[in-house]
């Protein structure tokens, strides 16, 4: 197993896996039972323990994709490892962005009475979701490893550069209409004590889950590449194998 076939050392992966399980259990205990309901929002507050960390993880995952893409483009550090990391992290990023949107609207329904509000953060997350959905669609198109790697890396950087611009312009746009939006989850939730602890547990648990899944998805990418390489060798054998016989 040469180093490129594993992202994390197996022992480290097991530790992270166990940590993730413990984190999730702790999150469920605290999030659903331990932490008291919020005096203003009531029980709906418990959805924030998912909404906030998954939003944070989405941004973090796309940051990892951007860094991996830059490393792939830089000739000295170019290696298939970075292309795989970029792809795996973007896939997780899109999943967490999707969850952020769904849980966000589930939270909005009891609190604001609407499934969707043009709140700056939700709008930015929605644009982000489609931005990277396009990136994943592009990644699925096959081709020569190096040229598709470069193409994907540049597409990832184009998308990533757009994130702050989208965030900045949407933030401007929404605060233009409502000064400090009462809808802003952070503003309305004065969180401290057990609630703050629960939020930190949530962020930790989500991060461990992300790292573990990143390693697993990376491993899957390795296997797909090795199988493709073997299929290629097979095709070369067939192509040159029947050479002396029937000239195709």
């Amino acid at each position: 197993m040469n180093p490129r076939d594993q992202l994390l050392d197996p022992r480290l992966r097991r530790v992270i896996g166990v940590g993730a399980v413990i984190g999730v259990v702790a999150l469920c205990l605290f999030g659903l039972w331990g932490a008291p309901p919020d005096d203003r929002q009531g029980e709906a507050m418990r959805l924030l323990y998912l909404h906030v960390p998954s939003a944070w993880l989405a941004y973090f995952a796309f940051l990892v994709t951007a860094i991996a893409s830059a490393l792939f483009l830089w000739p000295r550090t170019r290696s298939i490892v970075w292309d795989r990391v970029a792809g795996a992290s973007a896939e997780l990023g899109v999943i967490f962005t999707g969850l952020t949107l769904v849980v966000g609207s589930l939270w909005g329904r009891p609190i604001w009475g609407v499934w969707w509000a043009w709140d700056a953060r939700l709008v930015t997350t929605a644009v982000l979701f489609f931005l990277y959905l396009g990136y994943l669609a592009l990644r699925r198109i096959p081709g020569d490893a190096i040229s598709t790697g470069k193409r994907n890396a540049i597409a990832a950087l184009i998308a990533f550069v757009d994130v702050p611009i989208v965030h900045f312009s949407v933030e401007w746009w929404r605060t233009l209409h409502q000064k400090a939006t009462v809808f802003n989850p952070e503003l309305s939730a004065r969180i401290e004590g057990v609630q703050a602890l629960t939020l930190w547990i949530a962020v930790l648990a989500f991060t461990l889950v992300y790292v573990y899944l990143l390693d697993r998805r990376y491993r899957l990418a390795v296997i797909d590449d090795v199988l493709a390489e073997q299929a290629l060798e097979q095709a070369i054998k067939i192509r040159t194998g029947d050479n002396p016989g029937v000239g195709r």
């Binding site: 483009l73 644009v127 489609f130 931005l131 959905l133 396009g134 990136y135 669609a137 592009l138 198109i141 081709g143 020569d144 040229s147 598709t148 470069k150 193409r151 540049i154 597409a155 950087l157 184009i158 998308a159 550069v161 757009d162 611009i165 989208v166 900045f168 312009s169 949407v170 401007w172 746009w173 233009l176």
Partner: protein, 224 residues
């Protein structure tokens, strides 16, 4: 500077092809006007709503027209494999990028003027704050043209490029639509002070992606 000579060569080639084939003027502009009319069907014209949202509808129409212009610009290269011909000349990728981007931007800007006149007439918009409009429109156009050219070459040659291009391009252009619409609203409602920050955003967006294109286009252009 060799780069500008080569870029203007590519731009001249694209614009001459457009002048000959009249696709932008003969097909993309009518498409834009039809979309503007469809918006009027969708929104009740005499409720005054149309005039208020005219800037937004205008820029959405420009974005849709830009998709066609970018698609056309790279379809020209596919025919009889002209793309390989262009690569064989050994032209530098950034020259090809600036050339094609300038041609698309010129077509779009020309389109915007004519479409703007149509929208003013159709939606009954009284124009003022022209200085802001003239500052915002080129920035938005260059922003659209630069990202359009980048994604155009990225999707060129791929089987599903017609459907992939909108999916890739439109989310990236969200801030341009926001900025251009708000800038135009500020201009038209005679509150230019609100508009200038958005004009600044548009110029930052355009400069950034033009620089990005000059650096990255070569790599994409060489990909087969």
């Amino acid at each position: 500077m060799r780069l500008w000579r080569e870029a203007s060569l590519v731009a001249a080639k694209d614009l001459r092809i457009e002048a000959r084939s009249r696709i932008a003027l003969g097909q993309i502009l009518p498409f834009g006007i039809i979309v503007a009319i469809l918006f009027a069907f969708a929104l009740d014209p005499d409720s005054g709503l149309l005039t208020r949202v005219a800037p937004g509808l205008f820029w959405v129409t420009v974005l849709l027209a830009a998709l066609l212009a970018v698609g056309r610009s790279f379809a020209v290269e596919e025919k009889s494999n002209a793309r390989d011909g262009l690569r064989l000349t050994g032209l530098d990728g950034s020259a090809v990028f600036l050339g094609k981007m300038a041609a698309i931007a010129a077509e779009l800007f020309f389109l915007e003027i004519l479409l703007g006149i149509a929208v003013v007439i159709l939606y009954g918009v009284e124009v003022n704050g022209v200085v802001v409009l003239l500052a915002a429109a080129p920035a938005a156009t260059l922003g659209i043209a630069s990202t359009g050219t980048l994604y155009g070459v990225l999707a060129a040659g791929l089987r599903s490029r017609e459907t992939l291009l909108p999916l890739l391009l439109l989310p990236v252009l969200a801030p341009v639509l926001l900025g251009a619409t708000r800038a135009f609203e500020g201009g038209l409602e005679g509150a230019p002070s609100d508009a200038w920050p958005w004009v600044g955003l548009l110029w930052i967006f355009a400069t950034f992606y033009t620089a990005f294109g000059v650096l990255a286009f070569g790599t994409l252009w060489e990909n087969d």
